[in-house]
């Protein structure tokens, strides 16, 4: 009897504890590192009384975690814009954005158009833009000269380059082979053939990759120490290295940098939507957005933030993209099933000798 009562008591305590934890004064965000600077979270707390709780992650993990709980556990998530529609159709992990609660006039309209195109299902919008940038090449110009993704495979760079063993790399090398992978999204057969070709290219090139990096710091350290002379990387990381060592530069590859955009989405079973909307409106305020952009090192989707950006970052952008965003490709939404094809190719590259 006593033990039974004790068990009940313990159960009650855990449940009680859990329900107390998700009160209206807490906002649980799952996002990328650097996306929520401590300073911004502190200011939000001062203005609204809401405490931000952070979990750091990446696209795949965000989706997997939300899938495991059916969209519970977080009030706001920040996946990339091309990864939303597919995951939503497959796993129903998000809820639509209520545009009545968002100050839409704070956003850059072109970026809103992109999410409308790529992250809408049945006329309902599931995401709002947060920050954006482009993935291209980082190069130590003292030690190497490259112009396109394919140059990473030149024999003189054996063991001195790096890429991620993930889909952006497949897309980049497909573009470098002169084909457009995004045009083949709807054509499973053509896409599979293209991916197999890219897989073969990357397998032959494997000796050139010192490692496949899976976090930013691993690559940054490799480039800093000189072990890596050229790699695929997104602009902000390269610009950070550039500030430390002017020889290290971000370049827009000949076949085009690939632009990404991370977003705000509401998990299907998030408990504090009010706080999430308050956070969205707060972080899109130009003064706050500029602080975030500085911490991330990329541009914000907030309309007024660009004027407040650091002049250095603007300069770096001009140097890396002399003709603006003309030679840049945006990721379209990934149809379900494509990632299975890519997965097999990535496994083969990993196993190649």
């Amino acid at each position: 009897m006593k033990i039974g009562r004790l068990l009940l008591l313990m159960l009650g305590l855990t449940l009680g504890g859990a329900s107390q934890a998700d009160d209206a004064k807490k906002l649980r965000i799952i996002t990328w590192s650097d996306y929520v600077p401590a300073e911004v979270a502190a200011q939000f707390k001062a203005e609204t009384g809401i405490q931000v709780e952070l979990t750091l992650s990446n696209n795949e993990e965000m989706i997997s975690k939300l899938r495991a709980t059916g969209g519970a556990g977080f009030d706001l998530a920040q996946p990339s814009q091309d990864r939303i529609a597919g995951a939503q159709q497959e796993f129903r992990i998000y809820k639509p954005i209520d545009l009545g609660k968002v100050k839409l006039e704070q956003f850059v309209p072109e970026l809103i158009d992109i999410v409308k195109k790529n992250a809408s299902i049945d006329g309902k919008l599931y995401a709002l833009p947060y920050v954006w940038g482009a993935e291209g090449l980082v190069v130590n110009s003292k030690k190497a000269k490259i112009a396109d993704y394919g140059d990473l495979c030149k024999p003189e760079f054996k063991g001195k380059t790096a890429v991620r063993l993930k889909r952006p790399t497949l897309m980049a090398f497909a573009l470098a082979s002169g084909k457009d992978p995004f045009a083949l999204y709807g054509d499973i057969k053509g896409y599979t053939a293209l991916m197999e070709e890219v897989g073969r290219t990357l397998s032959t090139c494997k000796a050139n990759f010192r490692f496949f990096y899976d976090n930013k710091d691993q690559l940054l350290n490799g480039v800093r120490s000189g072990e890596i002379v050229a790699a695929m990387m997104w602009d902000s990381g390269a610009w950070r290295l550039n500030r430390e060592n002017p020889d290290i530069r971000f370049i827009n590859p000949k076949s085009g940098a690939i632009a990404w955009m991370d977003t705000y989405v509401l998990p299907a079973r998030g408990k504090n939507d009010a706080a999430a909307y308050a956070w969205i409106n707060f972080t899109m305020r130009p003064d706050i957005a500029a602080k975030i952009a500085k911490a991330v090192g990329n541009f914000s989707a907030s309309k007024g933030a660009e004027q407040l950006m650091e002049p250095r970052l603007k300069e770096q952008f001009k140097e890396s993209f002399p003709d603006g965003f003309r030679n840049v490709k945006w990721y379209p939404a990934i149809p379900a099933g494509l990632e299975e094809i890519e997965g097999r190719i990535l496994d083969r590259i990993k196993a190649a000798n």
Binding site: G159, G226, D347, K350, A351
Partner: protein, 294 residues
């Protein structure tokens, strides 16, 4: 029927049940239930968004794609090699602790074996990375001493993975070995020398037969730990690691393919069960005896 002694027995059984309850609950809720769920998951296939049907497709993929069973076999072979190496290194260490030293020295040696385990596996593995990377301590030292012309990358080789695995599992081999050796009566060895035995024959005829349960226990534990290790092969092996647990992680997390991941998980479980069974049969041991030594 219910007289006092029977009532007492009933109470005793109730007490026993209550004592066992945490263990049984633990086993059931955290081990049996998830496995049943995984088993069901591994036997289904995605037909369309949110539509699944029963199928053997996941297991067919495993046998159909050479890549997967290649990694599977590789993981098993590397784990077996790591286990053998661990035994080789742990044997003299355990012998020293159990037989050649006494009291404080013996305890001190034991603590030395234990110290690396005071920090987490991640930290230990990252330590190895700092030592072995091209700009790290060891390659720089080798280049400085003139052994190599330029610093060489020591990370991302199979040998590196083995070093990491042996290092991580050494303690789990030393403990059962020390237990076995301690129970070995020294007079037996002395008697063997008196009867004209030498070091080799004594090792073969007396020490190893006596320590077999301990050796088997250590090997089983180390083999299972190695087979299921994710961190060490992943960090030290880099682009060539190809460990089966990594495949499972990738299927679950990166590919969102829980069905495939579940099937892989079961194949790994079957593999470790089979290897343990073979090990027991080969050494002529019984599972219960061996586990008591571990």
């Amino acid at each position: 029927m219910v007289d006092t002694p029977a009532g007492g027995a009933w109470k005793g059984r109730l007490m026993l049940g209550l004592m066992l309850a945490p263990a049984v609950l633990w086993l059931f809720a955290l081990i049996v239930l998830p496995h049943v769920d995984l088993a069901l998951l591994s036997f289904r296939e995605r037909l369309a968004p949110r539509q699944y049907g029963a199928s053997l497709a996941q297991y067919r993929t495993f046998f159909g794609e050479p890549l997967y069973w290649h990694v599977f076999v590789r993981t098993a072979v590397m784990s077996a090699i790591a286990t053998a190496l661990t035994l080789l290194f742990a044997f003299p260490v355990a012998w020293t602790i159990a037989k050649l030293t006494r009291g404080r020295t013996s305890a001190l040696l034991f603590v030395v074996c234990l110290i690396p385990f005071w920090v987490s596996e991640t930290v230990r593995t990252l330590g190895w990375m700092i030592l072995l990377r091209e700009s790290g301590v060891l390659p720089q030292l080798l280049a400085h001493l003139g052994v190599t012309d330029v610093p060489v990358e020591l990370l991302y080789h199979d040998a590196t993975i083995l070093v990491g695995l042996v290092y991580t599992s050494l303690l789990f081999m030393v403990v059962p070995l020390v237990n076995s050796f301690e129970s070995l009566d020294n007079s037996l060895i002395e008697a063997a020398y008196d009867l004209g035995g030498n070091a080799g024959s004594i090792l073969r005829e007396i020490v190893i037969p006596h320590a077999t349960p301990g050796i088997t226990a250590g090997c089983i534990v180390v083999f299972m730990l190695t087979l299921g290790n994710y961190l060490t092969p992943n960090l030290l092996g880099g682009k060539n690691s190809q460990w089966f647990t990594e495949q499972i992680y990738t299927q679950f997390i990166t590919r969102f393919n829980w069905e495939q991941g579940a099937a892989f998980g079961f194949l790994l479980l079957a593999l470790s069960t089979a290897m343990v069974w073979v090990g027991l049969k080969a050494s002529g041991q019984r599972f219960g005896d061996v586990m008591r030594r571990a």
